[in-house]
């Protein structure tokens, strides 16, 4: 797959520049663009009021390594010892009890007395780096030299929703904004035609944590994640009602904007409201184009797996993710899994069937995404993160599954200034606990912000008298990720 060359590749950079330039010339052709507004206001002898645009691109605190993020979240939690953290000891001791020295560590449903469960998959050294990756991820494995695998993350709950909130929002209670909301608040958007922060859940259902995982909490609503769905109407309420034609909507908006201009005066908020209608109208025109996958070559569509049943859905969403970052979207959150157990990584039973299926959905599309970003020169500035709310226990549940394990699990980074072919931290011989360089979600968030040029301590919002931050108390930067 890595030898695949997109015929458009030579033009990729030019297209990207063009897409962003078009954003700058925001829809002047639409008749009531910003330029028209300025002139109308000037006609009345007013200096145009300063437009308050909460999504205006902002300067980071220091030079960023990454400009945008694609966060791949695996709902229900894949097992680390079956994917990126080989534990030969488990195979060796399969079926035997955990040594007493390890203590009895249970999950949400087991008490730690269950027998050891060796990984059903084989690990192989991959790439120049020789990084071991299991046979569950053959396509991802081809990018081993681009992956920066941290094997020693921890969360603080054995239950899905609180642990998901901790990964997304930094707190076990969903009282705080999601990291996408923080990043959008801190950096604004580079796209004027699309939302700054988009979210693509599994079509079969939402993750346990639900919408707070992309919520703005106490931040203004403008920073919340916007759902993006494949198909002709990707954004809620984007589509005109069936009995509303485009030309009639234009006339209606023209009337509205003329009336609104009478109200605006010198008020920057009202002026912003006028702009928001311009943007809404532009979004109606541009968003369907931004999600039109027919614009992609057959080879690209095939690479992402759009021609196969098992990869079509996730491949479609990852191809959309690439199109989004290409158009300046800041934060893209894509879920593998959600809703009923059969569509989650939550393998309490039937680990083999479950992980084969879920990895089968995602492996080829993720490999394609990394290939595609790289060949378009986007991988350097796009941080790809693969993770979950926790990992799974080394012991078995119901004989052939695994319970939850927040005490040590794997997430990985690629691109966005991170070092490929690198493995950071370690769990014990059983994959039960992080023992070498254990990292918390605070450390994860601090590092993510750092890669985007944001200082964890400087990115705050005053709420109820407290300087609220994504990273409470501050986290340790995982410097090996990028240095």
């Amino acid at each position: 797959m890595s030898s695949f060359i997109d015929p458009d590749l030579a033009q990729a950079h030019r297209i990207r520049r063009e897409l962003r330039r078009r954003d700058v010339l925001r829809g002047a052709a639409n008749g009531f663009g910003a330029l028209a507004l300025q002139s109308l206001l000037a006609r009345d002898g007013h200096a145009a009021p300063k437009r308050v645009d909460p999504l205006e691109a902002k300067t980071p605190h220091f030079a960023p390594k990454a400009k945008s993020v694609i966060f791949l979240f695996n709902v229900g939690a894949p097992s680390s010892m079956d994917t990126f953290d080989p534990k030969p000891k488990l195979t060796e001791m399969h079926g035997r009890p955990m040594p007493e020295s390890m203590g009895k560590v249970g999950g949400q449903f087991t008490d730690g007395s269950q027998p050891i469960f060796g990984s059903p998959w084989e690990f192989k050294p991959r790439g120049q780096s020789g990084m071991p990756i299991s046979t569950l991820f053959p396509h991802v494995a081809q990018h081993a030299d681009d992956l920066c695998v941290v094997r020693s993350f921890t969360t603080r709950s054995v239950v899905h929703a609180p642990a998901m909130y901790e990964v997304h929002c930094g707190r076990l209670f969903a009282t705080h904004p999601s990291m996408g909301a923080w990043v959008t608040y801190g950096l604004g958007s580079e796209s004027d035609n699309l939302p700054a922060y988009v979210v693509m859940p599994q079509p079969e259902g939402t993750p346990e944590g639900g919408p707070p995982c992309w919520g703005a909490a106490f931040l203004p609503a403008v920073y919340q994640g916007t759902l993006l769905r494949p198909g002709p109407t990707p954004i809620l309420h984007l589509e005109r009602p069936p009995d509303m034609t485009e030309s009639r909507q234009r006339r209606t908006l023209d009337l509205l904007q003329k009336l609104n201009e009478m109200d605006a005066g010198q008020d920057s908020e009202m002026a912003a409201r006028i702009s928001s209608y311009e943007l809404a109208f532009r979004m109606q025109a541009h968003a369907p184009e931004a999600v039109d996958l027919q614009k992609e070559t057959p080879a690209t569509r095939e690479m992402y797996g759009l021609n196969q049943d098992h990869t079509r859905d996730f491949g479609t969403r990852l191809l959309l993710a690439r199109r989004m970052v290409e158009r300046g979207v800041r934060f893209v959150q894509v879920y593998s899994g959600g809703g009923p157990i059969f569509m989650q990584w939550d393998a309490h039973q039937h680990l083999v069937a479950n992980h084969e299926k879920m990895a089968g959905h995602t492996d080829q599309p993720i490999g394609a995404l990394l290939t595609d970003l790289k060949q378009r020169g986007l991988l350097d500035e796009t941080l790809v993160v693969w993770g979950a709310e926790f990992g799974r226990l080394p012991t078995s549940q119901s004989g052939n599954g695994r319970d939850h394990n927040p005490y040590g699990f794997t997430m990985w980074f690629a691109g966005g200034g991170t070092k490929g072919g690198r493995v950071i931290g370690a769990t014990d011989d059983f994959g039960l606990r992080a023992v070498e360089k254990p990292y918390t979600m605070r450390d994860f968030h601090a590092t993510l912000l750092h890669l985007l040029g944001l200082d964890q301590h400087q990115l705050w919002y005053l709420h109820n008298g407290r300087h609220e931050k994504l990273v409470d108390f501050g986290g340790n930067l995982i410097e090996e990720v990028y240095a």
């Binding site: 087991t110 639900g210 909490a217 809620l236 589509e239 928001s276």
Partner: protein, 720 residues
């Protein structure tokens, strides 16, 4: 001393860099901890002064050589008053009645009329529910409905409508069960302590952690709502600039240590009997369908089980097939694993069910769900709290707020920076909260009255007298912009029997309140943030008001007061966000009566994880933490929702029908006139009339499009 040692210990243990706590004296010197001093109203002969509020403000304005702005015209004043006091726009008749009322007391009388209505209580309730982060569900993955919780919402509406003395209002919410035994409303009021989110989940969760979360929520709720302090800052360690020490925080938490969560029946025996009878009748309607469903499912369930069983590893299958009493220890384990591996989930069964049976089953389920919606309302119960009859749990200071790192033990004690007014806290389970409530509502308490009058002020004037109405601590407002006025209002509040209406009246009757939203570059240079109130602040309507207003303008608004929350139809995209591992039908049982879909937004089901886009996009709080002032953002998703959603389309259509009904299809001038009066409470000016008639005469546009434009107008979503 103990406190200092504990603080040091926390520092040593956790390497925190905070400096040692400043001495207690420095904390109690802080302005917000001084009992408000009675303030003489400044004497000023200016005719601008209508209430004492104006005298305080004018003093400061004149000191800066600033003139107040002109008064808003009568027509816009009545609009502002309705939007502020009821949350709704006035009807054209209500506007006319006021404009044509030449009585010198017309304004005062209108204020009285508006304040006497339950809509006044509804408007206040929306504000109060933000502060207490009220929702109808638990939050988290289950996000279960709290079936009786809405009675607290209605209690709040009623309290503000009746002008319940605020000290009593506070007492009921904190300790209604202890202080007013036998009073159902006071019991319902304690739902306040349960208003926050709560994690309810199965499996091996840590009960100690869940209990600590509950304690944190209760403490935070009281801190934010009544003390105006973000006490949870001190949950983890002392802060140099915070008047609340970590020990204070846990001493406050200890008041709630004995609390138990209770659903207390407040129904009469007749009511319960009637319910039992209705329930039996209802179940009798459900049973035959449930039975048919079960019979229909059984063969396919069995088939799925057989398939799952065939897929078992031979050893497991063998163990399962063996009679139970013959299984060895090892086989018992294997059989147990086998059972859980072969368990049939709903999707396993559907996978083997033929399409025609599946369709029949789906239809039956719809029928079942429709009948379920007609379930009789359970007898009245209070979503309340009580006290444990056991020894209450001991409260510890927790290092970095972590229940796994307990430090010293603490007792329930009042905040160290505030006097205890000679009140004592009982050591046992009962009466702790009563003592806390008495302490909070002591007439000399420095915070309670100040915090509430500041909320009233912020609600009406669009900006608080402190930077953050939820934080009177050092980290928040350094000092209020108008300290004398704040203290005057606070002392008056107590002297006037803690009457919210009295303070509210003092504000809305003032000349300061009646000013226009004027722009003046020279004045803005002197006071850019309008701290001195030389003009009215621009206030955007809330999402709830925008929705209610659209319904009012179209004549569809259903003004029924109180009752169970309403589920309005939602977009399929929003439906899909409801988390379930079960079969995803009937997750949002829409309230059958279509008239109820036009109820005020206050009565729509507030589900923590499923937000309605129209409200959420306009910065509706997420109900996860207290919200004193809503944030205000402007973005394109608001515009898309107000242009294309079913709600706004229906509203434009109804608005058009109303105009056509009154004016006929062809009288464009009449349509424009009426549209303006209904939506903006005024007549169109010449430019507007021309634009409107031009648009309406265009053969390519519809009256409905015109209505859509009006419902989106800037002027409509801002208070005049």
């Amino acid at each position: 001393m103990i406190r200092a040692v504990l603080a040091m210990l926390a520092l040593i243990l956790f390497g925190l860099t905070a400096a040692a706590a400043p001495p207690k004296a420095a904390r109690s010197d802080y302005w917000a901890f001084q009992t408000p001093a009675p303030q003489a109203v400044p004497s000023n002969p200016s005719p601008w002064i209508r209430t004492a509020v104006d005298a305080f403000l004018l003093d400061k304005l004149q000191a800066k050589n600033l003139e107040p702005s002109p008064e808003l015209g009568k027509q816009m004043l009545v609009r502002r008053l309705y939007l502020d006091l009821w949350g709704l726009p006035p009807t054209p008749e209500q506007v006319d009645a006021f404009v044509n009322d030449r009585s010198p007391r017309a304004y005062e009388e209108l204020v009285e009329r508006l304040m006497a209505s339950p809509h006044y209580g509804e408007r206040w309730a929306q504000k109060w529910l933000d502060v207490v982060r009220y929702a109808d569900t638990n939050g988290f993955e289950g996000d279960k409905l709290r079936p009786q919780a809405w009675r607290y919402r209605d209690y709040v509406v009623r309290s503000f409508t009746e002008d319940k003395p605020y000290d009593r209002f506070v007492q009921e919410q904190i300790a209604g069960d202890e202080l007013f035994a036998g009073d159902d409303q006071a019991l319902i009021a304690t739902g306040f302590l349960r208003a926050g989110p709560r994690h309810v989940v199965g499996g091996n969760t840590d009960p100690e952690m869940l209990r600590q979360e509950l304690m944190v929520e209760m403490t935070a709720g009281v801190g934010s709502a009544f003390l105006g302090l973000t006490v949870q800052c001190a949950r983890c360690h002392d802060h140099k600039f915070d008047p609340i020490l970590q020990a204070d925080y846990y001493q406050l938490q200890a008041f709630f240590a004995p609390v138990t969560l209770e659903e207390v029946s407040i129904a009469s025996p007749e009511e319960v009997a009637a319910y039992e009878q209705a329930k039996a009748a209802h179940e009798a309607r459900l049973e035959p369908i449930q039975k048919t469903l079960k019979e229909m499912e059984k063969p396919w369930h069995d088939k799925a089980y057989e398939i799952n069983k065939q897929n078992l590893e031979p050893a497991l299958k063998a163990a399962l097939d063996k009679p139970e009493e013959q299984r060895s220890e090892e086989e018992k384990q294997l059989a147990s694993d086998a059972k859980s591996q072969a368990k049939v989930a709903w999707y396993d069964m559907l996978a083997v069910m033929p399409a025609d049976i599946k369709a029949e089953r789906a239809q039956l389920r719809r029928k079942l769900h429709a009948i379920e919606l007609e379930a009789p309302t359970p007898p009245r119960a209070a979503f309340a709290v009580g006290n444990t009859d056991k020894e209450p749990p001991i409260t510890h200071i927790l290092a970095i707020g972590d229940y796994q790192h307990p430090l010293g033990e603490v007792q329930a004690e009042f905040l160290s920076a505030v006097p205890d007014f000679g009140l004592e806290v009982p050591g046992g389970a009962a009466g702790r909260r009563a003592a806390l409530a008495r302490w909070l509502t002591h007439p000399q308490h420095p915070l309670t009255a100040r915090v509430m009058v500041n909320r009233i002020w912020q609600f009406r004037m669009g900006a608080a007298l402190t930077d953050d109405p939820n934080n009177f601590g050092l980290l928040g407002a350094a000092s209020p912009s108008q300290p004398e006025l704040l203290d005057y209002l606070a002392t008056q509040f107590v002297d006037l029997g803690w009457s919210v209406k009295a303070i509210d009246r003092m504000i809305v009757l003032s000349s300061a309140y009646r000013q226009a939203v004027a722009t003046d570059e020279a004045k803005a240079k002197i006071d850019p943030d309008n701290k001195l109130y030389w003009r009215a602040n621009r206030v955007r309507l809330s999402g709830e008001q925008i929705r209610d207003q659209a319904l009012a303008v179209t004549g569809k608004l259903n003004l029924a007061v109180g009752g169970e929350p309403v589920l309005v139809p939602i977009e399929p995209e929003i439906y899909d966000l409801i988390f379930t591992e079960g079969e995803p039908d009937n997750l949002w049982p829409v309230t059958p009566d279509p008239e109820s879909h036009h109820r005020r937004s206050l009565y729509l089901l507030n589900k923590r994880t499923v937000r309605l886009p129209l409200l959420a996009n306009f910065d509706q709080p997420d109900t996860m933490s207290s919200c004193a002032v809503r944030s205000r953002s402007t973005h394109a998703l608001q515009s898309l929702t107000l242009l294309n959603s079913d709600f706004i389309q229906d509203a434009s259509k109804a608005f058009a029908e109303r105009l056509a009904g009154a004016c006929g299809q062809d009288d464009k001038t009449c349509q424009a006139e009426l549209a303006w009066r209904l939506s903006l409470s005024r007549r169109p000016n010449d430019v507007e009339r021309t634009l409107a008639v031009e648009f309406l005469s265009d053969p390519d546009t519809r009256l409905q499009d015109f209505c859509l434009a009006l419902l989106n107008r800037n002027e409509l979503v801002y208070r005049p």
